[in-house]
Symmetry: C2
């Protein structure tokens, strides 16, 4: 396994894929969608080997389910590819057109980033998902999946490469690191000559490892400690519904709510909130400031316990919700900036000045006024496809769509112009 060689091949293929027409790239996506169904016997046989190894290793049922492929999941992946084929192609788009005073015509032209390195875990659908987005944007990609899905991924990559070849595009545009040795991940992160962006898809540990070891820019993200602040002027009935949505609609994802801050003047909201969310199975970690409003006859409801020291710095990923009373919007903003991971935070208020202050001062990728944090999503935002949700600050912040897998070149067209 020579990762440098994979990088060289990917770089060469990227040159040619970057020049492919939209029609060619879409043809590759559709061919791949077809082949996922036509070649499903091979893919499912490879997946079965992964499943057997998982069972032998006594992997948990939920993890086994994550790596399972079946005809219905393959159909879903094919449908996603057909949808990506229908999205507009960002490559070639002209923008910031201008004509300088000397007559030189100048514009920016969108081009592929080049070669992406994507490091991920568990779900084999990521292999197809990422390859599809890379093909659409004219980028080559070097994939490194989890060792639990090695056989599935190798089978899927072989299908992707056939699809590319079947429409005359370079198979080498999709490379896979099939040796589970972690040294190869390190080698990939050092390959700045051949790789332009690293996208880790996995837990905080993977993101940290990439950031600490990469010479290539890393898109970190996918984690969030999300806050909603119930201001004194908020519509409390409506706030119950927003918080219910943000906490319970899909508690295991990064834009799910973790903490509710309540203005002291609206603190009577707290017992109502507990009552409203209890039937959904939510349990609460209440800051000392919130306890007096939750105690009845000196006792807390069964679903509430006092918050521990780390609780407001925990991404719950489950039906746990932190509660805190704040004295002012300033305290709410300060708490949010101190504990948020810069993903999604919001204010519930009828006060336009407070709304503006919250939006201006909370430093997160997505800031909401009177809306659920669950909206932070490429699909919800109308981007068509989502590559990642970035919580870092350069290049792209928040949900990243196809456009965020591109860069631009400046094009200057003159009549033998010289600089004075």
């Amino acid at each position: 396994m020579n990762v440098t060689e994979l990088g060289q091949k990917a770089r060469r293929a990227a040159r040619s894929l970057g020049r492919a027409t939209t029609a060619q790239k879409n043809a590759a996506l559709l061919a791949l969608a077809d082949r996922l169904l036509l070649d499903q016997a091979d893919i499912l046989a490879a997946n079965l080997r992964d499943l057997e190894l998982a069972r032998a290793a006594q992997m948990s049922a939920s993890l086994q389910d994550r790596l399972l492929l079946n005809p219905s999941r393959l159909s879903g992946m094919a449908a996603d590819l057909r949808q990506v084929a229908e999205l507009p192609d960002p490559v070639g788009e002209r923008f910031d057109e201008t004509r300088l005073p000397n007559g030189l015509q100048l514009h920016k032209q969108r081009v592929p980033l080049g070669v992406l390195g994507v490091i991920y875990e568990a779900r084999p659908n990521v292999t197809i998902d990422v390859a599809g987005l890379a093909i659409k944007t004219g980028n080559a990609v070097i994939l490194r999946g989890g060792k639990e899905t090695l056989h599935s991924n190798v089978a899927l990559v072989s299908v992707i490469r056939s699809a590319l070849e079947s429409v005359g595009l370079p198979a080498e545009a999709v490379q896979y690191i099939d040796d589970p040795d972690r040294a190869h991940v390190l080698a990939l992160l050092q390959l700045d000559e051949h790789v332009d962006m690293i996208i880790p898809r996995g837990g905080g540990g993977l993101h940290r490892f990439c950031k600490e070891n990469s010479r290539i820019p890393v898109i970190t993200g996918g984690v969030g400690i999300c806050h909603l602040f119930v201001d004194q002027s908020a519509d409390l009935d409506a706030s119950l519904l927003v918080i219910h949505n943000a906490k319970t609609q899909r508690p295991s994802v990064c834009n799910a709510l973790d903490t509710v801050l309540v203005h002291r003047a609206a603190a009577e909201f707290l017992p109502r909130l507990v009552q409203f969310l209890e039937p959904a199975g939510v349990v609460f970690r209440a800051h000392a400031s919130a306890l007096p409003f939750l105690q009845q006859d000196g006792r807390l409801p069964a679903s509430v316990q006092p918050a521990g020291a780390e609780d407001f710095d925990t991404e719950w990923m489950s039906l746990v919700l932190g509660l805190k009373v704040v004295e002012s919007i300033d305290e709410a903003i300060e708490h949010t900036n101190a504990h948020s991971l810069g993903h999604s935070d919001g204010i519930l208020t009828a006060d336009a000045v407070h709304a503006e202050q919250f939006v201006a001062e909370v430093d997160s990728a997505a800031v909401y006024v009177n809306a659920s944090t669950r909206f932070t999503d490429g699909g919800q935002f109308g981007l068509g496809a989502e590559v990642a949700i970035s919580t870092q600050r350069l290049h792209a912040r928040g949900p990243m769509g196809l456009r965020e897998l591109t860069t631009y070149k400046w094009v200057g067209v003159g009549q033998y112009h010289v600089r004075r």
Copy 2:
């Protein structure tokens, strides 16, 4: 010297500077411009100490000149600051406004990047230049200048801080690493918690060091091996003028021309080019393919010598020009992509199809048709100010102005919207 502490201070100050109004930030720039002149005795005294040390160390006259400050240079720096004050403030700009089908209003809002780390050499004017651009864009900055200008830089930073304080902005927004130990540069590069972007301003070695050791995204650039391809249909008289401009107007900078590629069908251009550029002091390194067209009576002109193995991979920074004959536009593009550092390259042609192919296939930050490579510059491109010229691909490519020192947040405004 505790770089982590500097980082913490910068981060705190960035929060407050990021909320400053355009008027406040401009007031700081104008106050700084005034103080550069009012406090010039202190600044020049500090600069004199640097100059004395430079003389004692027998530094070359040209390097001594680089670090020299005098009243006229200080006036120039003040004038630049006043110009930056007049530029539009990118912070707060709204863009990509949309209303989702469910009624949620969504837009992106431009915000400062946060904290910049700038590592530079020699010229003390960079201290003022970078601090001015950072203040304008609401970013805090940690500066690390060369040890040759330590006293000058410390004096300048003290003036910057007074100017910030005089208008009620945090002095801590500008930090300076005043200990010459290189370990502190390494510490800065590892400070990803407190620093959002590293901008090296110096030679290739500095850029490489930053890229290899940084956990923070690095804006590499400032180097270029620039090409012009004289196509068979080019207006040869006009091409002489463009090449003369690109090579001789300022040979020591990164957008100066390094290599001319000539289509074989236009190879008679070569002796004309040599004759035209010789009076400007240009000397030539000719590829074997070009020699037959340059020899007269079996001998090369005195200004021409055969190119060595490394010559086409050398950024000349001087009046040396590489010459090569190519068989086709494809060979010209291939040579350019193989040897360019992705800065600025162009084609001289009357053929629209060739122009389009060159623009599409040459993968550089700036690609020109019938224009000098010297245009790649923030001022020329109308950006008002130039932070750097990026030859990396993420976030910003080519000349970077104020906007490129910002990022955005997504803002969603609803009426208690929930995700379905």
